[in-house]
Subunit: 339 residues, 2 copies
Amino acid sequence: MREVARLAGVSVSTVSAAINGTAIVSPRRAQKVREAMDVLDYHPDQVARSLKVGRTEVVGVVMPDITNAFYPEVIRGIEDAAGQAGYSVILCNSNEDPAREQRHLSTLFSRRVDGVLIACSDASTAYDSLIRKRFPIVFFDRLPADTNRGAVCTDNLDAARSATEHLLQLGHRNIAMITGNLLHSTHRDRLEGFRKAMQERHVAILNEYLRGGDLQTRSGYEASLELLRLPRPPTAIIASNNKMMLGLMRAIGELSLACPAQVSVIGFDDYAWTEYFTPRLTVVKQKTYDIGCRAMSMLLTQIGSEGGSDQGEVVQLKAELLIRESTAAPAAKRARVRR
Amino acid sequence: MREVARLAGVSVSTVSAAINGTAIVSPRRAQKVREAMDVLDYHPDQVARSLKVGRTEVVGVVMPDITNAFYPEVIRGIEDAAGQAGYSVILCNSNEDPAREQRHLSTLFSRRVDGVLIACSDASTAYDSLIRKRFPIVFFDRLPADTNRGAVCTDNLDAARSATEHLLQLGHRNIAMITGNLLHSTHRDRLEGFRKAMQERHVAILNEYLRGGDLQTRSGYEASLELLRLPRPPTAIIASNNKMMLGLMRAIGELSLACPAQVSVIGFDDYAWTEYFTPRLTVVKQKTYDIGCRAMSMLLTQIGSEGGSDQGEVVQLKAELLIRESTAAPAAKRARVRR
DNA sequence: CTGTTAGCGCATTCAT
DNA sequence: ATGAATGCGCTAACAG
């Protein structure tokens, strides 16, 4: 920077002012500065700047599993929103491991990120200290139990309810659900939505129709096998995440059942392949990109207001039910579809 | 840090030494320092440290499309290798846009990252200045034309050749390929491998059997439609990436063709869903995670040796052909499968 | 409008 | 083995 100043024949503060627009610099000198920067291929040192101004313009993003296609899409939203504000993103994969998540949080903190975006993989209490510190943070997708800070996620209860209602309207009564880890708000809400919808129609949920999975394909497969081998198997199954839905489809294939003729299926999340599956899958499509955008801009306002507003709002985005070919009226009730 | 020093009853330099193990500190004092750090919830300021030592222990990763499932998997590899070395990762999505890529590179540079991992979405010359600067950089997946720096990618030529040979062995002669953007080494090599294999068996490639796509599903779909409507349609098709394969499968479905009975299909990349497709897809599986790991550790050595070795090696990882159900002998030649 | 200067928090000589 | 002092590159306050 001193070099630039010398070459441009001005002082360092003028260079600084020219770069940041902090003060008014005469056009002529500004031009000279720009030229000098070009000649020297000078890039302002952000780390020195950060040290000085106390902001890094970097945020951390922590999530449980980047190979779950849901997250890359929200990352894209985050990145776009961040980029527009001149922010960069440090990515951290917690791998569903609370210890690892804590470690990541700690290094992010050391790196003096201005804020954190996180999809929890831990119990709620783990984030209390951060929240107390009024450190800018917004939760996305998975929320801790008592979210008194900003958060954005899908309205999972509503989403699951819509899915269930669709099934109910088709005439299904024996509906099962493969649930995810109920420690996570996401899957708790999804189960709740299922319950609500069934209750509203006064349809009972058999205990044996509720199976817990660990979000991986294998568990979805195993749960489905049990479900489908029941003396009175369900005529429709909802999977609480995309990987488990894949396991479900495999189980159906292995048992040589016809979908949707013998069993209807609804999954969560919509990817390129769901539409090309046989049958084309009926799914609940979340607004992944928007979740990322919204979360990021919410974080940005938190950073801007310096812990001003303590009570962050939690934004719930509606999901969309994409009705395709994996859901149909149950075999026995074909005649009276429109109840 | 001064606070810590005071509370521990030592000087700041002792604290520094205790934290970094730079000098020998008596166990008693080291203990006191640790306690003081705990009490004050002190986290060393990495940005100040970076400014001082001239290293940030951050690397930048630039890639064209994070929603292409290939990349998240290599990111996981990168992240794991980075984490072990105490490095963090700044993620940048170039969105296949060279201008955006350059902007990202520029901010990464300003942020004083210690090195960059990149899957190019630009012509080769764009990286020359970086290379000349001897800035630590390793290319992954897509390499610039004249890679004289470190790089790691799949042996795409070999991969495509294996795929083609499999088809040839099944008895196919009319084999088509939906190629990607030939500006990228990846797709150029894949085409080359296809050519080589055909040549070795003295089988001609019809011009009309080569269709270029833009890596997106839609283009794969359109190219496939053209291919399959040819007067003499191919009996087998290779898609140069996973999204285009999806388009291919859709085209097959729409034309009510049977796969593999009427047309065999091979795609690139293996995801959870390829195995659950109907038919289960024969694919070329790249070692995505390993690509990330290797690239990162290669970058780490470059960073370590401070531009010492100018000539970086390029590591080529073998891909694996997973033969499943989307490939079979061509209909007309069922009788003489084992040529 | 522009130049001079004092730290931001830390690692690192160099004395002690 | 430990402490005092110096400066990494930059911004912001202040003086010109």
